[in-house]
């Protein structure tokens, strides 16, 4: 039986592994694999947790109150709750420095997508034009992945930006605020479409309402932000758990891969790892290796391998990430209404702004505020806290947030390289410079978003728009682009490295372009495509 070693259990790794197993390959997955804490009171709703949890402050704010956001603090509103800390906990021995970029890495089972909000947005054909293969070769895998993970949504006005695919289930029950926004859109649609080229519709999310053979449906507990205790919201660790039951699959947790070795003809032959706790070395004979550790970690592995093989490590250019801008808004029609806590908490609607170049499409995730913590918002109201709280009580149900995503393109000035210490250890250097026209693009787009909100009966309070730092969206891509022909620091259309034969990159590092959409759904589809096309029966 043919054998492939996969590095990393994130969204790309587990779907690559699943397809390779389906094709008759033996798969070994090496992973640090930190595990999630057990779900607490798994059937309790958000409001019940506040009544019945023995230590709700420990649950919501953390044992060390790390979830409390103080005035003037560095934390971002809508950040990650304390018990998701295991997802982003750093790893000893993996050093990283950055400029213009706030990088996040994950060593959790399931990787970064353990903290995603489920956005499953297929790339449109125009957004795939830099990919060195016909879009159809990727598009059909959206249906494959949707069948595996369960994606809900609708083919509506956003279909011009979000193509339909197989296995798209009906959307979840809308919360009252999202329903009101959609109703307002229907009334304002002619103007919005014509004047602003703005379209609103149902979001696409990796969550379903119906029970499946191995998954619960969403029961609207309102705990999405704190990890769905019923696993109705898909995360890659669910697939990993299923893989563990399959013949031909071997999981090696608690190990961090350090590099690969190649033979004289530059074909990969061995993989080196070390035990996270003891440091004990592990070597695996591996004629084929698939890196799925995420753009930053996979790139560091390649650079360390090149350094070990040839003595020098080059600079990888073209790092991309989606700039995100958060635009809070108040829906005047919902003032003085009671907030609906028992509802799905992430984006139920999306907003699309058409641009002259279809690759420059702007995508907004519309999240209505329900069960997120409120103290970060109340403290930002420019009044004393008691008055601010009174206002908030009457405005809670009316609050929402548009997370505006911008596309990114490969540029020489955005790069990854190694800084090698005397003792041989290496530090990954991340450099990012925004495009020269970024500020103007953001300004023009925000003007349109705020005008659209006004036409929906909402207004964006001045001074509260927040431009997130680069790196915050965790949609990293682009440093080893897939190209039909290219140099050693590119990959083939099947994601195979041109530096080392037999070494495949099945994560976002090979994407030659990054549209303004969460890339996770496409990561999974592309990993399944590579497994089928390069690791067929």
């Amino acid at each position: 039986m043919k054998h492939v070693v996969v590095v990393g259990s994130g969204a790309s790794g587990v779907h690559f592994a699943q397809s390779a197993l389906d094709n008759g390959w033996r798969v070994t997955l090496v992973d640090v694999g930190r595990t999630a804490p057990a779900a607490e009171l798994p059937n309790a709703s958000f409001a019940q947790l506040k009544r019945e949890h023995p230590d709700p402050a420990g649950y919501f704010l953390g044992e060390r109150f790390e979830g409390a956001l103080f005035p003037g603090g560095k934390g971002e509103y809508y950040g990650f709750p304390p018990h998701k800390g295991y997802i982003f906990a750093p790893l000893d021995g993996l050093a990283l420095r950055s400029r213009g970029f706030d990088p996040l890495l994950s060593f959790a089972r399931g990787g970064l997508a353990e903290a995603w909000t489920g956005g499953s947005f297929p790339f449109a054909p125009a957004e795939l034009c830099d990919f060195p293969f016909e879009p159809e070769r990727l598009v059909r895998y959206y249906g494959v992945i949707a069948g595996r993970i369960g994606v809900s949504g609708a083919v509506d006005d956003l279909a011009r930006f979000l193509p339909g695919h197989e296995h798209l289930a009906p959307g979840l029950r809308l919360d009252a605020h999202s329903e009101a926004l959609l109703g307002a859109y229907e009334r304002a649609k002619p103007r919005l479409n014509r004047e602003l080229r703005c379209f609103v519709g149902r979001s696409r999310s990796a969550v379903r309402a119906d029970e499946r053979e191995d998954r619960h449906g969403c029961t609207y507990l309102g705990r999405c932000l704190w990890s769905c205790p019923r696993e109705a919201l898909y995360t890659p660790s669910i697939t990993l758990r299923a893989l563990l039951r399959r013949e031909g699959f071997t999981y090696i947790p608690d190990h961090v891969v350090t590099r690969v070795d190649a033979d004289d003809s530059n074909r990969v032959k061995r993989l080196h790892a070390r035990h996270v706790a003891s440091g004990a070395a592990l070597e695996l004979d591996a004629p084929r290796v698939a890196f799925a550790a995420g753009t930053l970690a996979s790139s560091k592995l390649l650079l360390d391998s090149l350094r070990a093989h040839g003595g020098a490590a080059p600079t990888l250019t073209g790092l991309m990430d989606n700039r995100q801008v958060l635009v809070p808004f108040v829906n005047l029609a919902l003032l003085r209404k009671r907030v609906e806590l028992d509802s799905y908490q992430y984006h139920q609607l999306a907003l699309g702004l058409e641009r002259d170049d279809p690759r420059h499409y702007v995508h907004g995730l519309v999240t209505t505020l329900k069960s997120a913590l409120i103290h970060p918002i109340v403290q930002s109201v420019p009044l004393d806290l008691s008055s601010a709280l009174w206002i908030f009580r009457n405005a809670h149900a009316a609050l929402g947030l548009v997370n505006v995503n911008f596309h990114d393109e490969r540029r020489e000035s955005c790069s990854l390289s190694l800084d090698v210490a005397r003792d041989g250890g290496s530090t990954l250097l991340v450099r990012y410079e925004p495009a020269a026209d970024e500020s103007e693009r953001i300004r023009a787009t925000l003007r349109d978003v705020k005008r659209a909100l006004r036409q929906l009966g909402c207004f964006a309070p001045p001074g509260m728009t927040h431009v997130r730092p680069m790196g915050a969206s965790v949609h990293y891509a682009g440093v080893l682009p897939m190209q039909r022909e290219g140099g050693a620091l590119t990959t083939t259309p099947l994601g195979e490295s041109r530096a080392f034969g037999g070494l495949y990159f099945v994560d976002g590092s090979t994407f030659p372009f990054l549209p303004a959409k969460n890339l996770t759904f496409t990561l999974m589809a592309n990993a399944a495509r590579i497994a089928d096309e390069a690791f067929g029966r």
């Binding site: 704010l61 103080f70 907030v339």
Partner: protein, 169 residues
């Protein structure tokens, strides 16, 4: 001190404290917790909120980065005497020192209140006023804020100057 009686589960054990100074600190913290929670919610803090408030101080998360200035500590001491004083000093600190010790303590308490019933339920409940009444209250809150800010600024400016001259601002 009066506590709400609707606790449904025992509060986590309080970390052991040493007699003397530590107990005096706890007593001050209990006092300010009581006044600050009344200011925010109109009722006394529950045992659980008080326990967590003390625990947060013991964990060292309340002090501003770099530590609080003497003037900030003085503000907290004054604020813990009465709810109307908290309002005035909070208004002042919101405008002139948003990350100050008083604001951090108040925000911590708000965070504790919002995660625990019954305070949490009150926070999620609209006041039930009509649109006209709401507009009126909004105008009143704005006017009261402006007035208290003005008075607090006039009173605190010489105090802060004195702290500065004493090298303790």
């Amino acid at each position: 001190m009066k506590h709400s009686s609707d606790e449904r589960s025992p509060a986590p054990p309080r970390p052991p404290v040493q007699a003397g100074a530590a107990q005096r600190v706890d007593s001050l913290l209990e006092r300010e917790c009581d006044v600050f929670v009344r200011y925010l919610s109109g009722v006394a803090p529950s045992e659980y909120v008080l326990e967590r408030y003390l625990a947060a101080h013991a964990a060292g998360v309340v002090e501003p980065p770099g530590g609080a200035a003497d003037f900030e500590r003085w503000i907290v001491r004054r604020a813990s005497s009465a709810t109307w004083l908290v309002r005035a000093l909070d208004a002042h600190q919101r405008v002139f020192a948003n990350g100050s010790l008083l604001r951090r303590k108040l925000v911590l308490l708000l965070a504790l209140l919002e995660v625990r019933a019954p305070h949490a339920e009150a926070i999620d409940t609209p006041t039930g006023s009509s649109r006209a009444a709401m507009l009126f209250v909004l105008a009143w809150l704005g006017a009261r804020f402006a007035l208290t800010l003005l008075v607090a600024t006039l009173v605190l400016a010489p105090v802060q100057l004195a702290f500065k001259l004493g090298g303790r601002a």
